[in-house]
Assembly symmetry: C2
């Protein structure tokens, strides 16, 4: 028997492919569960698509081609003879979840009910240069609604409301701003100004995020051939922003007239108006006429989302209305959707030490092991607790109790259970009967293995948000608890 | 503005990359949630690793190289100048979750607590020829326990018990047989027989799944150079199987003696003995001395699992003890684990029509829409239901109520809510006040939007198992309910 080949040195991370430690992953899991639950409560079905798409689908928009990872079977050249005849255009890893979803809708249209709501939480891959918040592998959480032939406008409002509902259930999130705009508004305004190359102008105005307005003005004149007046009007439009419908008058005051502009103003006003009640301490919904979503496939409403204090991350949650992404030539499936960059949001918070969990294991209880002969008894106690939904593990070895308590402490397990057999004279400090100790407070009480449960807030690991220079933490999992609740 | 390029014909599936319809995916989601919850209750942390590993890690075992998908950036050749300097050996998609986990343990050993329990539910990729139950992209659910320097044997028993606990919570599953063997037992037996090339003999004996015993005997003699007596002994060992520890005497009766054989017999007897209480109507735990797990890295206990009536799928759940997979040269991290082939299990059941869900949406309630002006009121009713955990959607258009009820029926939504405003004389059939209709029974009652909840068993889609030639279904989600509970 040949011994297995082993790695002989410690492996190192691969740039752009972040991985979480167990305590962080327990936080991410709770975040994903909150998102999935919220989307499901709104009637969105939990779709998944395969990780690969035919390359010709992925490369439909030329400017993304650089980012696509192409798949090749290692010995593909050697074994074409025994291959399954599937030639095809080659496969690449998907770089978003919208293109695969549009393809899925076309492929399965006859078996879907429209309007079709789905959420999709999956990894995507882009071969771009890694930087903070930008990875080569990352998790996105998308919601979309797709109709057949037509999709009423109220679904644009619905998509915004559902995502805000989900985000506001993440109490560790800094205050965020959902910025809404409308492609028809921009296109109508530009066309009304007499501009021909709308894409180019949109692309340059999008640079306002990174370049000063005067630089962008220069580019609009020199690169896009706009007059000084046209360039000035484009910049003036991009500066309009309001938390209410007052933006409509400000745009009209710019003096440009076009039917598509009017349509866009009406739609954007409706989104802002019907989301006004969402604005609160943690969230603001605003019309922001600078938002354009680059060269994407959007045709109406567009969304971006920025986090207070994390503007450098860019938009953590983006999307919009796409009326012609999915079409088989006869039938068109218009849609509206929004995509949350889960990794873009969480990984920087982990990396900056602004978010963590208080346990590295799901376990709420460690059953102490008096001696190896008691393992079956301890297993039975643990299984009883599990049957009531309490995550429980049994100590791996019958060390001294002090060591077993430290085993729990190192993992953040809040309770240690001492079986009744442990009290049979073997330890003078242990009273008779089953005992359970809250190792944070040191409090120890008698407990019935058939009915005891920990407090509900101790069932799952807590999400903790370190605050201030002292490193004090606040519990972000449940509102109204204090620092005392978090063990460390 | 250039119009988006569109696919002009209906896309077709990619062989080996199965995708589920929404109702099926809702079933898969419940299955994955059950697995994750069970693993968490046993203290396993929910790890995820990146989808890629360095190729030199993936190719450590030569015979898997054909299956690896290699990643290449589409324009990698063009932009090496602006690349981030990361040269490395190239990346491939992982083909299992054990190799990545071993790498993760080595990479993060200083930040993990041992013994380290983790579960990992992720997609894996293999470029092999697709067939029933064998895919190029599929989901696995793995549990592993890894120690530093040593890992007590009782964890072998624990791994088996945890996986059986999880599988028995899937009530749609046919009866399954967990088959346990021990590599030490096989190695000791073969060595005791004077056989030198253990790997080759194991590889040939493994063919008993597909070839008659006499053919395998011939191969053992001709290919592996065994004597007729040695070949006969190997086949005799492979035929030993028992649901209890009686296998020990049957092996001893074969007359081979070796220390490693004794060690293996003791370990295997302990697993079988300590899992005996698990055997019941849905599961059997047996010692089966034919199981060897091919050329894998196992060093002691090995597991396979077969489903009654689905023997052709092979083992749906396999694993074992690996004492030297993860080592950095100084420290070794022995482990034991088992891996459930979620896609291998579910996709054939879906394809054969033996498993399905009763809804294509999570929604338990459709709020009917009397007219477009009532949308805000209907949204408020829906949001109230959602706040009590009831998945709810609002009808997309104010069609006639008959059509709205059919909208719910087509999706399997069990309840339709008629808002009070709907009864304001607009429909003579509608009594005053809020009404909720169970569209399966037709029963309609008054309901308070501030407190009404559907029966608990209607909160989530049900898993249904069509039985018999009549296509009658039984509800597999909750025990004790009858066919009447399932709407269709």
């Amino acid at each position: 028997m040949s011994g297995p080949a082993r790695p002989r040195s410690r492996p190192t991370p691969v740039s752009g492919f972040p991985e979480l430690l167990p305590a962080q992953r327990l936080v991410e899991q709770q975040v994903l569960a909150t998102l999935a639950t919220t989307f499901g409560l709104h009637g969105f079905a939990p779709l998944e698509t395969r990780a690969v798409e035919p390359l010709d689908q992925l490369l439909r928009k030329g400017d993304t081609s650089k980012e696509v990872y192409v798949l090749q079977r290692l010995q593909a050249a050697d074994d074409t003879a025994e291959d399954d005849g599937e030639a095809g255009p080659g496969l690449g890893l998907h770089f978003d979840l919208t293109i695969p979803f549009a393809r899925y809708v076309l492929e399965n249209a006859g078996r879907l009910e429209f309007p079709f709501r789905r959420y999709q939480i999956q990894k995507v891959w882009r071969g771009e240069r890694p930087q903070e918040g930008r990875f080569r592998e990352f998790t996105q959480a998308d919601i979309d609604i797709v109709g057949r032939d037509q999709l009423p406008f109220h679904h644009d409002v619905e998509i915004a409301r559902v995502m805000v509902d989900a985000l506001t259930r993440l109490p560790f999130l800094p205050r965020f701003r959902l910025q809404v705009n409308n492609r028809k508004l921009i296109q109508g305004f530009y066309t009304g100004l007499g501009i021909a190359d709308l894409d180019e102008v949109m692309r340059l105005v999008d640079k306002l995020d990174k370049l000063p307005a005067e630089t962008v003005r220069g580019l609009l004149v020199e690169d896009a051939g706009l007059s000084q007046e046209q360039a000035g009007q484009c910049l003036a439009l991009a500066q309009v922003s309001s938390p209410d419908t007052s933006f409509v008058d400000r745009v009209r005051a710019l003096g440009v007239r076009h039917d598509l502009l009017e349509e866009g103003l009406t739609e954007l006003a409706e989104v802002v108006e019907r989301c006004a009640d969402l604005t609160g301490p943690g969230v603001e919904v605003v019309a922001d006429l600078r938002i354009a979503r680059g060269l994407d496939y959007y045709t109406g409403t567009v969304f971006e989302t920025r986090l207070d204090g994390f503007e450098g991350l860019g938009s953590i949650c983006s999307g919009g209305r796409y009326d012609s992404l999915a079409s088989d030539g006869r039938t068109t499936y218009p849609g509206v959707g929004i995509s949350l960059g889960v990794s873009r949001l969480l990984v920087p918070l982990f990396q900056r030490g602004l978010l963590s969990g208080d346990r590295s294991v799901p376990s709420a209880v460690l059953v102490a092991l008096p001696d190896e002969a008691s393992r079956a008894e301890c297993d039975a106690i643990a299984q009883g607790l599990r049957s009531r939904g309490v995550a429980t593990e049994v100590a791996p070895t019958p060390q001294k109790y002090g060591k077993q308590i430290r085993y729990a402490e190192r993992r953040g397990i809040p309770f240690v259970w001492f079986p009744a057999s442990a009290a049979d004279g073997s330890d003078a400090d242990q009273p008779a009967g089953h005992q359970v100790k809250d190792i944070r407070s040191g409090e120890q009480t008698g407990a019935d293995p058939g009915s005891w449960r920990p407090p509900t807030e101790d069932l799952l690991p807590r999400i903790v948000v370190p605050t201030g220079p002292t490193g004090a933490t606040t519990d972000a999992t449940t509102e109204g608890t204090t620092d005392e609740g978090a063990p460390r």
